[in-house]
């Protein structure tokens, strides 16, 4: 261990190269992860941050809130199904809303205030109360843009007074406005004239299942409707799963590259130190101890690389424009850090066989 630590301490130039390479990879991975998280959380907050555990959609909607359309009868049918504790209609409208501070692209969500699908992330004020129309809670992003409690937010000619603020509730990267079903429908009918006269439809049904009941179990009770868990509903939002899988593929590839970089580095180190390792083996150092030293060096180099990469990534996050959806999560940092350390250890482990095969006899003269 002393040898491994001293080599890093006194061979800084050599280890600076591997640390720099790992730092850049970690920086890349964390920045991509921040983008992936930013996109995912920005797209799915409205279905993750509510009290609903599942959603039911019309058969042809493929799990899309926007594409789905359901009648009050269907809502009642879902409500009465075994395993469903509460079921309420949900309406969604992607539109533009005007507030005193400006005009914003928003997603208006109509929900039943005492039902399912209601936000659980209130940070200020209150949510619309049962039977109350013309009021709304807004996503924190709108509050950051200058919309305040007491302001009115208007869609067409329909206005709602802002009474509360919720966080992590955006939908398809747009801030949300949470209002009653009637207010949502009035706004929807303003901007979508083809719905004029429609007074009782919803897009989907938000469900709170009984404890221990899964979306799949509810699905078996609802005939040809589609039931997805809240998490699956998020992934069914157009583009979300594709974005996540694309960015995750890049992240996994980068982590594999990290393992390869470490493997190549330590393969070169071991090659360079063959004679020294042979001598140490001849002097009684076990292969296990030599291998442990290399793995320790890999862990230290990876850990320093993680710290530098994380700091650089956070630094970039501080200057990246607000329009770029990035989210630096501690959970992601911990996960990526562990993966990088594991990648470093795995990379170094490739050298262990090479160390094991070093013949101590090569430390002594020729072969005869």
């Amino acid at each position: 261990m002393m040898l491994a630590l001293n080599e890093i301490r006194r061979g800084r130039g050599r280890f600076a190269s591997i640390i720099a390479a790992l730092s850049l990879i970690v920086f890349l991975v964390l920045t991509l992860a921040a983008l992936a998280d930013g996109l995912f959380f920005g797209a799915t907050g409205a279905v993750r941050s509510t009290n609903a555990t599942a959603y039911a959609f019309s058969p042809d909607a493929k799990g899309s809130l926007i594409r789905s359309s359901m009648t009050p009868e269907q809502v009642r049918e879902v409500s009465s199904d075994p395993g469903v504790a509460t079921a309420s209609g949900v309406g969604v409208l992607l539109t533009a809303g005007t507030a005193p501070s400006g005009e914003y692209d928003v997603a208006v969500f109509g929900v039943q205030p005492d039902g399912a699908g209601v936000p659980t992330t209130l940070t200020d004020g209150r949510l619309p109360q049962p039977g109350e129309n013309g009021t709304a809670a807004i996503d924190q992003e709108l509050a950051y843009e200058g919309v305040a409690i007491g302001d009115s937010i208007t869609v067409g000619t329909q206005s709602a007074e802002v009474v509360g603020v919720v966080r992590d509730s955006s939908y398809q990267l747009q801030p949300t406005v949470w209002t009653s079903l009637d207010t949502w429908r009035a706004m929807r009918n303003e901007v979508r004239p083809e719905f004029t006269g429609v007074t009782d439809d919803v897009n989907a049904v938000a469900i709170i299942t009984d404890s221990g009941v899964t979306a799949e179990q509810v699905q078996s009770e609802v005939g040809d409707l589609t039931v997805l868990s809240a998490e699956a509903t998020g992934l069914a939002i157009p583009g979300v799963e594709q974005q996540s899988s694309t960015l995750n593929s890049i992240i996994y590839t980068a982590l594999a590259v990290a393992a390869l970089v470490v493997a190549l580095f330590f393969a070169l180190v071991v090659l360079e130190k063959r004679e020294l390792f042979a001598a140490l083996k001849a002097l009684g150092t076990s292969t296990r101890k030599l291998g442990a030293g290399v793995v320790l060096q890999a862990i230290i180099a990876s850990a320093i690389g993680v710290v530098i990469g994380a700091l650089a990534s956070r630094g970039l996050g501080a200057i990246v424009p607000d329009e770029v959806p990035t989210l630096f999560r501690t959970e992601t940092l911990i996960t990526i850090s562990i993966f990088t350390l594991v990648a470093g250890v795995v990379g170094a482990a490739f050298s262990l066989r090479r160390i094991a095969r070093i013949d101590p006899a090569t430390a002594i003269g020729g072969t005869l």
């Binding site: 040898l3 001849a282 101590p360 005869l368």
Partner: protein, 241 residues
Amino acid sequence: MDVDALPVASLRDVTKTYGQGDACVHALKKVTLDLYPGEVIVVLGPSGSGKTTLLNVTGGIEPVTSGEVEVCGQSLANKKPEELATLRRKHVAFIFQFFNLIQTLTAAENVSLIAELTQKSAGLHERVEEALSGVGLLERAAHFPAQMSGGQQQRVAIARALVTGPDLLLCDEPTGALDLDTGRHVLALLQAAAREQGRCVVIVTHNSGIATMADRVVRFHEGSIAQVVQQEAGEARDVTW
């Protein structure tokens, strides 16, 4: 040399071959040899005569093809590599022609590196100082190998070898990279290790001038012991070549 003592190492009818068939080379042919505590043995012979192979099989670095090797009463046959490494740590030390010091460690750290593998940390610092003092390099304890001459590096290697208190010191051309004066100094340290500490010191060399300091001279020829000469050992400082 204590002729009544049990041998530190014994080789019985040891044969070592490399390769097979037409390419088979007999590096050692039925070699029998006992190595005693307090004894300096100089092994002479031309290149390819089997000197180095003798060191390798005696130190458990290479397995024998046939015959038996015992070190400190333990047969090396059927021991796993890790068990052989443990045995070397406890009983055997090597001194190499090109020192094989670790360039990123100081003299003291090079010495303590091996010592801490085998011994408890209590008193380690004192033992390292004692070993370096024994080779006259205490004042250079904080120096790196690159800051020392070849002779000084070999003396550090001797301190490294002696700090664990080995019974058997196997030296491969220990003066091969040194000038005469420095070589004498190194040989004197090895002779002192035998005389004053009771180690068995085996020096493999092609330099016949070194033979005058040996208690026993073993000449190898084509893998076999051609001659063994028991003699009154001269002083290492009088060696010349």
